[in-house]
């Protein structure tokens, strides 16, 4: 789940945005909520910074460029400059409020240790999984707090690069 507070460049307008993947079995399908509105949206990336969005049956090509303080989005023939404002949940600092909902293996390797259990809460940068690859141990973590929804690997597993290791969710108690 990604919760964001976005604002236009002048800061006059802000939008509370929530983009959540529908389920792991439906890649590219999201629920988009902003204000009162909630819709199903499909995103088909055509590269790291562009793709197609399908919303209410309309398919729109989009292009993005990420700068230090803002994102420029080209869609519907216009460029919109959008900035990230304070955390929508009001708890993360420094604007780092983007949440990924899965932890994946950044390289092929062996799961050496699992440092958390299902249902357990964790803080930013807490070790979640330790993976061994090419005789080196790497500690995997995420930059935000959350709770372990499910663990999809076990110690000793040989995992491919990109394999899903842990599913994460927002920690409601902290929210």
């Amino acid at each position: 789940m990604m919760k964001l507070l976005l604002k236009n460049q002048s800061g006059e307008k802000a939008w509370d945005v929530d983009l959540t993947r529908v389920s792991p079995s439906q890649p590219g399908s999201y629920t988009f909520a902003s204000g009162e509105q909630q819709s199903q949206v499909d995103i088909k990336p055509a590269g790291a910074d562009r793709g197609l969005i399908r919303l209410h049956g309309r398919v729109s090509p989009f292009y993005t460029v990420r700068n230090k303080h803002h994102v420029d989005v080209w869609v519907h023939g216009k460029v919109f400059r959008i900035e990230q404002a304070q955390a929508a949940t009001g708890r993360a600092a420094g604007g780092a409020v983007v949440h990924s909902n899965v932890l994946i293996a950044p390289m092929p390797g062996t799961v050496l240790r699992i440092e958390v259990e299902t249902g357990q809460s964790f803080g930013p940068h807490d070790p979640l999984i330790i993976i061994e690859s090419m005789k080196m141990e790497t500690t995997l973590s995420v930059p935000h707090a959350g709770r372990v929804k499910s663990i999809t690997c076990k110690e000793g597993d040989l995992v491919a690069m990109g394999a899903m290791l842990v599913q994460l969710e927002d920690d409601q108690d902290n929210g």
Partner: protein
Amino acid sequence: MGIPPFGMFSKVLIANRGEIAVRIAQTLREMGIGSVAVYSTPDSGALHVASADEAYPLEGESAGDTYLRGDKIIEIAVSHGVEAIHPGYGFLSENAEFAQACADAGLTFIGPTPEVIRQMGDKIVAKKVLADAGVPMLPGGSANDASGLKKHASRIGYPAIIKAAAGGGGRGMRIVKKAADLKQAIEAAQREAGAAFADSRVFIEKYIEKARHIEFQIFGDSHGNVVHMFERECSIQRRHQKIIEESPSPGLDPALRKRMGESAVLAAKTLGYSNAGTVEFMLDANGDHYFLEVNTRLQVEHPVTEMTLGQDLVRLQVCVANGAKLPFGQDDLQPRGHAIECRIYAEDARNGFTPSIGMIAHHAAPLGGHGVRVDSGISRGSLVTVHYDAMLAKLVVWAADRPAAVDSMKSALERYAVLGVTTNIEFLRAVVGHSAFAAGHLHTGFLDEHCSALAHSDEEPPPEALIAAAWALAKSQVDRSLGERVTQAVTSPWQEAGPWRSC
């Protein structure tokens, strides 16, 4: 086109950069002629370098150190077996000394003779020569000092316009509304002209409000044949620089077109004009036209003529420079349909059209469709620097009639994505979408009258923009957190794609 007397050139150097250098290289390739590019240090990765068969550096950054260095360019041409030089527009294209230096080095300059370039480069001389021949002129005059100019001003009345004798690109130009402002305007124009052209001479003429800018393409060969290739209307201007051009003009009827075409041919014949040129006129509300200037080069907006006549003007230039006769007479030229060009600039229309610099992150030109042409000098990763003109590309459409061409341009602009620098695409959309534009009621003050408010609209982003922004922010956030925590496999495609990559 007939067999040229001495055989076609085997290799041509393009003394330019950006879209025009790319466009010239394409025609040379189609003609089977080798192309040679030159490039400044910041342009070493530019598209025009990749478009040519060979490329040689002009070390330096500023235009003065690179694309304006005729001596360096001729040296490169001579030492690499080049036979002719195409100057494009801007830079050395209207420099009579350079054209002469090419001839002295045994190279063919693809353009008119140095004498004609020199004559027409001095606007005071040009007006005298062509007025004597009977080309219609605005009332006005030149003088060596402010008091002489003041006398002319009191004779012709206000508003008046002061222009630089060596002028071009809107520099050294001042509109004067009343006598009290004259002295200051003369001084400002002289200063600006002196700085831009090392020639501070100015002249004054009657200023026509709500005039149309109509220019005629002319073409001559070295055998004394001259034709006009019909008009282009270039009334949509900001800071005296054109941004939208079209052909035919919605303001001309056949009789007026014929009269203006005759004036253009009269100018060309008087000058013994060879190669491509443009005779510019002002057209007032009464349907009277007045000479402005002759541009002794290929114009930026030449594609609209190419599309309505089905001709490649660069190919004609090369053939005529090579000694061929024009392959058509005046009566053979019959324009078809309607063409419009929009100049895509890296500039901020919401902030006084100030230039925008940066790296092109995306350049997705509108692809496909009938009659859409994009002449571009950029690609993803291109640098837009402070050193050169901010024009990135030209979007040209052709359709059977003007309403269809306007619709096609609207649609093409809507599909044209550029990110990395701020562009004028949204502004162009607003202009082309304006009812006064659709009605064809064009004049050089059009943007001031209709579009100053358009430049300040701040539209609410559609949900798709918020979704795309959230997607991009989430991806880069995840990419960064992986990058911080994982010291291995930093080039993993998963970091590139992000953990919630979905297809």
